[in-house]
């Protein structure tokens, strides 16, 4: 089974639907799961106890975990100096600590099987140092650093840990970004076009596939950066 966080919308939701379409067993995690049409459980990734409850239940039920996709994330377009303290905390708690908690608590379930793939999510904002995204970029830079170190810790267990760093994909996450701003970011990519959630799902499939077992601790940029 593949665990996908942020399953109720955006990239997480698109990834769930792609994997299910390929007959891959998926468990979606999200704060609100009422509208989800696939197997899901309510979980707030920014809460250690909430994630721990999920891990305990999976272990108790004897569920074999083959992959973890940490797609839950929030963004806030704002200058650092005009960002309220609670917004900064929410971004760090969800994007960085949420990813760390899920890795800490679900990876041991995968370590028992000595196989697995963990996919974290960063952003092109890290590579480009985008203006107006400093706190969001900081949280994702943390995810990239965590990914590289955690990949070494998990290599003993044949678990690969990688990071996908998309450019501006058309999801709810960037609804506050104007078309002009999006085009400006896209123009800085190696491949200067806006990609869709399908491109991200393609890469997720590749990273879950055993044929990518030589890849770990990598940050893969959708569109190139």
């Amino acid at each position: 089974m593949i665990i996908v966080t942020g399953a109720s919308r955006g990239l997480g939701n698109a990834i769930c639907k792609r994997l299910i379409s390929k007959n891959i067993s998926v468990l979606g995690l999200a704060r609100y799961t009422d509208d989800l049409t696939f197997e899901s459980m309510s979980c707030d990734v920014s809460s250690y106890e909430s994630v721990k409850n999920i891990a305990q239940r999976l272990r108790k039920d004897g569920i074999s975990i083959a992959g973890l996709i940490n797609a839950a994330g929030i963004a806030s377009m704002n200058l650092a100096v005009t960002t309220p303290q609670n917004v900064s905390m929410n971004i760090i708690n969800t994007n960085l600590l949420g990813t760390i908690y899920c890795c800490q608590l679900i990876a041991p379930l995968m370590a028992r099987n000595k196989t697995g793939s963990i996919i974290n999510f960063s952003t092109i904002a890290v590579a480009l140092g985008l203006k107006g995204e400093s706190i969001y970029a900081a949280s994702k830079a943390g995810v990239e650093g965590f990914t590289r170190s955690f990949a070494r810790e998990m290599a003993d267990f044949n678990i690969k840990v990688n990071c996908i760093a998309p450019g501006p994909i058309d999801t709810d996450l960037i609804r506050g970004v104007t078309p002009t701003q999006i085009q400006k970011i896209v123009s800085q990519q190696i491949i200067p076009k806006q990609f869709t959630p399908d491109a991200v799902s393609d890469l997720v499939e590749i990273l879950l596939d055993p044929r990518s077992n030589s890849l770990s601790a990598q940050v893969l940029h959708i569109g190139g950066a």
Binding site: P108, R112, E153, D156
Partner: protein, 92 residues
Amino acid sequence: MISKEDARKSVFSAIHKYVKCDVTESTVLLGSDTGINSMQLVELCLELEDKSLVFGFEFDWTSDVAMSRSRSMFRTAGSLASEFIDQMETKK
């Protein structure tokens, strides 16, 4: 209910799989030639977690001093067994 002594023996039995010597209270786990590596440490934690569930509690191996040679529960077999038993007594 399992006795403290049986719990200690169970912890020592788990440790014995990873060290190259007989396990005693003073068997060093961290930072010695006969100690365990990071992979074995995680495997040992998973095994102790399994044992704890059988004994009716959940062993929490997280600690802010886990890698400290002077204060870690993992510094010796005895310290690990004592922590395991303490948690068993507290959480039951």
